[in-house]
């Protein structure tokens, strides 16, 4: 068993023991089930395409919950080890720093993914049981996008963990990132577009700078390519590029987001003294 795998397995075991992950899993499942139930009951009776609407609500729930849990667990990974005094002990073992970082990252991503799949899966079973239509491929695609978001946001969390001097500081920075990316990003960018005449290209760059927005647009685009639902960034993208090119551009940007944070974290961590 190599070092990365050993650390990842330990991380998953610790996460299962931890109350954080259990609380997240239960919260996610309850909210997802609640949303699905309400969506099916209310929208279904009104004759809407209840699968798309219910799933869109689920996506919005994921875009709130997944980043906050991934960012905060990533932020407490290395900083938490340092605070508990276990980091220097791990660094004294015969493993490279990148192996420690990769192992912790992999373990966290797997743990959060398990809880996300559990919540998403429960809701999926419910929708499949009650919905008049159920597109399993689209649903699995959405799940895949959420897991990709888990990987990106955990990586960003790990960056804050290696950059900051304490767990509290890392958590604060991570929550600030979540707050800006999830709640404030749209408003700030729209303000910039109108105030600073950013234009369409500015909008596009803005969209690519926020992985949560990338995933949101990708998800909605595949679920219901309705320009009113897509929002200003998504609408512009589809109108200018067409759905195919827009999807390819967004997926490329997401791939860059997958690797960049961990590359930065490894570089910073290698350079940091024990």
């Amino acid at each position: 068993m190599n070092a990365v795998w050993t650390i990842a397995v330990k991380e998953v075991r610790d996460a299962v023991r931890s109350r954080w992950l259990i609380v997240y899993g239960i919260t996610f499942a309850v909210l997802a089930l609640g949303l699905s139930y309400l969506g099916e009951r209310n929208l279904g009776s009104l004759g809407f395409d209840n699968f798309s609407r219910t799933t869109a609500s689920l996506v919005n729930l994921c875009l709130l919950l997944v980043p906050v849990i991934a960012l905060s667990l990533g932020a407490s990974s290395i900083a938490g080890e340092q605070e508990r005094g276990t980091l220097s002990y791990l660094l004294a073992q015969p493993l490279a720093r990148w192996e420690l970082l990769a192992g912790k990252y992999t373990g966290l991503v797997v743990s959060i993914s398990i809880a996300t799949i559990a919540g998403f899966g429960l809701a999926g079973v419910f929708i499949a049981f009650y919905a008049s239509t159920m597109d399993a491929t689209t649903y699995l695609l959405l799940l895949g996008l959420m897991l990709a978001l888990v990987a990106v946001m955990t990586g960003i969390g790990v960056v804050t963990s290696v950059v900051c001097n304490s767990r509290a500081q890392a958590m604060s920075v991570a929550l600030l990132i979540w707050f800006v990316a999830v709640l404030f990003f749209d408003l700030v960018l729209i303000g910039l577009v109108s105030g600073a005449s950013l234009g369409g290209r500015g909008l596009l760059v803005g969209l690519l700078l926020n992985p949560i927005e990338i995933v949101r647009v990708l998800a909605i685009m595949n679920l219901e390519p309705d320009l009113t639902v897509l929002g200003p960034f998504g609408s512009y993208l589809v109108e200018e590029m067409g759905k195919g090119t827009a999807t390819a551009s967004l997926l490329t940007a997401l791939a860059v987001w997958e690797v960049t944070p961990m590359a930065i974290a490894t570089w910073v961590f290698n350079d940091r003294r024990a």
Binding site: M1, A3, G85, L91, A92
Partner: protein, 279 residues
């Protein structure tokens, strides 16, 4: 061809910003001895260990069994067992789980864990969680972890700091046993009296430099020519004065052994005197 020293430290210098923590520290250690690395808090003992383990960058040469720490840090760490000041185990792990994790990291067969737990007298606690262990038990668990890959060099950072007298004695017995197996043990502490009975050699760090590097036995030999007279009964001061003429026979006469702290103090004073006379 003779074996290389198990540890070679040459011109080791470590700076944190403008602060020089280690300043051209040099020493070699041969296999099968216990070396006390002494010094006040902040003298550079832990930093020396971190450099030997390749956990921090440094200037100078550090080699373990001929392997350069700067070039092959990961390989060197396989040869070194480390017991930090605060053993970093996860509180929720049992002793067995904690050792299994480290054994997997070190790629050591898991069947070595049982005998190691017995060696450090923790076999009955194998399924006890780390958070439920006493300070002494945690130290013994950390020692078992340090011994996992059967390393020829052990670095023990303040291993007796939180131990009661009995646990300290047990640890010392174990260290003597490990020295008998041919291991080299470097023991850092600022409690000189804790290592007086077991250290073969003393290296004293002061202000980031080696202030003294000497065999413990020679420290005691050089410490003075005082004698202790053990009387066959209780004797008053006035009685002592007339000891010889009154014909009171001494039961045993032996050289007085000062404590190690006093021996070091005298050695440093002697060294300073020599340096002054040379100038």
């Amino acid at each position: 061809m003779s074996n290389p020293p198990i540890l070679t430290v040459g011109g080791l210098t470590k700076r944190y910003g403008r602060l020089t923590v280690l300043d051209r520290v040099s020493f070699n250690l041969d296999a099968g001895s216990i070396v006390a690395l002494l010094g006040a808090n902040g003298a550079g003992k832990t930093t020396t260990f971190k450099c030997v383990l390749g956990m921090t960058d440094f200037r100078g040469k550090v080699e373990v069994a001929g392997k350069s720490v700067a070039k092959s840090g990961k390989d060197v760490r396989k040869l070194v067992g480390y017991l930090p000041q605060t053993p970093g185990f996860a509180d929720d792990d049992t002793c067995l789980e904690a050792l299994r994790f480290l054994a997997e990291l070190r790629r050591v067969p898991l069947n070595c864990i049982g005998p190691l737990l017995e060696k450090v007298n923790l076999a009955p606690q194998r399924d006890v969680r780390v958070r439920e262990l006493s300070g002494g038990m945690r130290q013994r668990l950390a020692l078992a972890a340090a011994l996992l890959s059967d390393p020829p060099l052990l670095l023990l950072d303040e291993p007796t700091a939180n131990l009661d007298y009995q646990s300290r004695e047990e640890l010392h017995d174990l260290l003597v046993q490990l020295r008998g197996e041919g291991r080299t043990i470097v023991l850092s502490t600022h409690f000189v009296e804790h290592v007086a009975d077991i250290a073969d050699r003393v290296i004293l760090l002061k202000d980031g430099q080696v202030a003294l590097d000497q065999a413990t036995a020679s420290l005691f030999t050089d410490a003075g020519k005082d004698f202790t007279v053990h009387l066959n009964g209780t004797a008053s001061a006035s009685f002592l004065a007339a000891l010889h003429s009154a014909g009171i026979g001494a039961e045993r006469v032996a050289p007085a052994r000062p404590d190690l702290q006093e021996a070091i103090r005298r050695a440093l004073a002697g060294k300073a005197e020599k340096e002054e006379s040379c100038q």
